[in-house]
């Protein structure tokens, strides 16, 4: 125990000597993780009180602003599509053949029964613009050395005033993110795992998302396939694309 403590203390001292700035780390993450666009096939594993359920989907996205998701399975969900453009969200189901905009109160609902709400999904990821970031230390998660970055909101209209991100020191991949209420209460936690090298990039292929106030085991996302910089036709991100 004592040994570990000394080791940690030593690393902290050591780190301080050569800690990169938080901005730099975040930039590196961006560099590593964002691409022109990406096409992802993934599974969402939802742990209910009764049973767990797997939902497969394929999504096309351009940056943070545009996203098109189509659900593949189970059969019931097949063909359901969601389109997000900036702050707008539309949903389409083949059985109704209608496009309905999700707004107001509906945005607070959970997505497919997961711990994630539509609002969470809509949230902008432009961290460096909205937050003051600061490296506050280093720690080890699953035998990986990490930076711990604290983000405090710079502007007023953010859903989460404070975030904490654990970043893999070598691969510049976030391994854990926590979202806090303004007065510091932990609200949500994401854990990113199974880092794989895909087309030369390091990418987490599993994420566990958990609402910390609610009972339950949270929701898992598993990426089965991810492709970067694809040629995505523009119609994908139009309302007409939902009906195709």
């Amino acid at each position: 125990m004592k040994k570990i403590l000394i080791l940690i203390l030593m690393t902290i001292v050591f780190i301080n000597a050569q800690t990169p700035s938080a901005e730099m780390i975040l930039e590196k993450i961006d560099e590593n993780m964002t691409s022109e666009n990406q096409v992802v096939t993934s599974k969402m594993i939802i742990h209910g009180r009764r049973a767990s359920r797997i939902i497969e989907s394929k999504s096309w996205s351009v940056g943070d602003s545009k996203n098109f998701t189509e659900y593949l399975s189970p059969a019931r969900e097949q063909g359901t599509k969601m389109l997000k453009i900036d702050d707008n969200l539309w949903i389409y189901t083949p059985s109704t053949d209608r496009i309905i905009k999700i707004s107001g109160h509906m945005l607070k609902q959970s997505v497919m029964g997961s711990d994630l709400s539509y609002e969470d999904m809509m949230e902008s990821q432009e961290l460096t613009e909205n937050y003051d970031a600061k490296v506050t230390g280093t720690t080890v998660i699953d035998e990986v050395n990490c930076w711990v970055i604290n983000l405090i909101g710079k502007v007023d209209n953010l859903a989460y005033h404070k975030r904490k991100i654990w970043v893999d020191k070598n691969k510049y991949i976030p391994l854990r993110e926590e979202l806090y209420a303004k007065n510091g209460k932990l609200l949500k936690r994401m854990e990113l795992k199974d880092i794989k090298n895909i087309n030369g990039r390091w990418y987490p292929t599993k994420m566990i998302f958990k609402d910390m106030l609610k009972r339950g085991q949270g929701t898992e996302f598993v990426i089965d396939d991810i492709k970067f910089d694809q040629n995505i036709p523009e119609y994908k991100f139009s309302k007409a694309g939902l009906k195709r």
Binding site: H105, G153, D156, A181, K182, K185, L213, K214, G216
Partner: protein, 390 residues
């Protein structure tokens, strides 16, 4: 005067027949007065409770406030108008700030309404002094129904999550510092009471409020820009309607009961006119006008109601007084329907109610007594003396 004396003697002379009618009519008196008394008592008590716990002397609502619209509640607060500052300091008025929130007792999510109220207020009966503390944690006050539904006790902690005026999530553990027992469900179910300052801090809306509750009804309520004054008539309209409904529902019962008593009197009148033809004939022969005879019989019939009133007073006053003292027990679940109902209702009988009831029954009796007696006016006295009228 003579007819009254005669009528009195005739009635007493008829013995059992008279008393049976009188007993039935006296029931009508007692039951109508009692039933109305219970409703009055409930009405008064409910109004009293609502004034004390919920509405005060009247309320200024921020212009966007609509208690039935959950979507706009978070946008219905603004700065407390300058002209109210003195009244608030003098405890003539108290501000309330309202916002939505989510609580997670035992990890279960529930949407609630957060109410901010000054701990030292003296306008509402809610024991807000319990909210007075200097610690940083959020102290909350809840009603007994809320406590029961969420299995919360004094000293328990549970997480509350809310969004401040900038839509930023905030959350904290709150401690239950008091559970109050009120007959008014509206301030209890789904409501959390927090110190006003605390809630203003939580929402980042310093010095703002959603409504201002006045202490006195007779206060002069000036118009204030951006605020709408809601008086008792508006705030108690639901209550008034329910009482009115109950009154109508009850009236059917009185009507049937009264109809029964009147039927008895009508029958008696018909019979006595039939049996006393000879007497009627003689009276007319002796110089009484027909209308004097009609009057005599009408007075006789109407006198039933006087007798009944006396009889009703003899057994009714102690009975009703006892009820007013001990109250009329109400079932516990009654207030689950949204209106304030105490464990027992203490009926109140106003003089107006008593005299009104006596008057209405008297008039009704007068009418049913007159209808059969009217026939007398067409009587041929000779036939009557011979007893030949059918």
């Amino acid at each position: 005067m003579l007819s009254i004396k005669l009528a009195f003697r005739n009635l007493i002379g008829a013995g059992l027949r008279t008393w049976l009618n009188v007993i039935v009519l006296s029931f009508s008196f007692v039951i109508i007065i009692w039933n109305k008394g219970v409703l009055n008592g409930w009405n008064e008590q409910a109004r009293h409770d609502m004034v004390e716990w919920q509405i005060g002397g009247g309320q200024y609502w921020q212009e966007n406030y609509d208690p039935y619209d959950m979507f706009t509640i978070n946008e219905s607060h603004s700065a407390i108008p300058q002209e109210f500052k003195n009244d608030i300091a003098n405890n003539e008025m108290t501000p309330i700030l309202i916002n939505t929130g989510t609580i997670y007792p035992d990890g279960r999510m529930q949407n609630v309404i957060l109410n901010g109220i000054m701990p030292n207020q003296k306008v509402l009966k809610i024991p807000t002094e319990k909210l007075e503390n200097n610690s940083n944690e959020i102290s909350v006050l809840i009603g007994k129904r809320m406590a029961k539904n969420n299995k919360l006790e004094v000293g328990d902690y549970f997480p509350i999550r809310w969004r401040d005026a900038n839509e930023t999530f905030d959350a904290s553990d709150a401690k239950v510092v008091g559970i109050f027992n009120s007959n008014v469900p509206v301030i209890d179910q789904g409501k959390i009471w927090i110190s006003l300052q605390q809630l203003q801090k939580m929402l980042v809306t310093p010095n703002e409020a959603t409504m201002l509750i006045t202490k006195n009804v007779d206060r002069k309520n000036a118009e204030v820009d951006g605020w709408i004054f809601r008086d008792h008539k508006f705030l108690l309209s639901d209550m008034d309607e329910i009482i009115r409904m109950k009154n109508v529902g009850g009236s059917i019962f009185y009507l049937i009961l009264l109809a029964l008593a009147l039927l008895a009197i009508f029958d008696t009148q018909v019979l006595s006119i039939f049996r006393r033809q000879k007497e009627i004939g003689t009276e007319i022969a002796l110089g009484m006008t027909r209308w004097q005879v009609v009057r005599l019989f009408t007075v006789e019939g109407a006198m039933y109601s006087i007798f009944a009133a006396v009889l009703a007073a003899i057994y009714g006053i102690p009975l009703l007084a006892l009820q007013a003292k001990n109250g009329f027990p109400m079932p516990e679940a009654a207030d689950s329907y949204g209106l304030p109902i105490a464990k027992a209702i203490y009926p109140t009988y106003s003089l107006g109610l008593i005299f009104g009831t006596v008057f209405v029954i008297f008039i009704a009796t007068l009418i049913v007594s007159y209808l059969p007696a009217k026939k007398i006016s067409k009587i041929n006295p000779t036939d009557a003396i011979k007893g030949k009228i059918q």
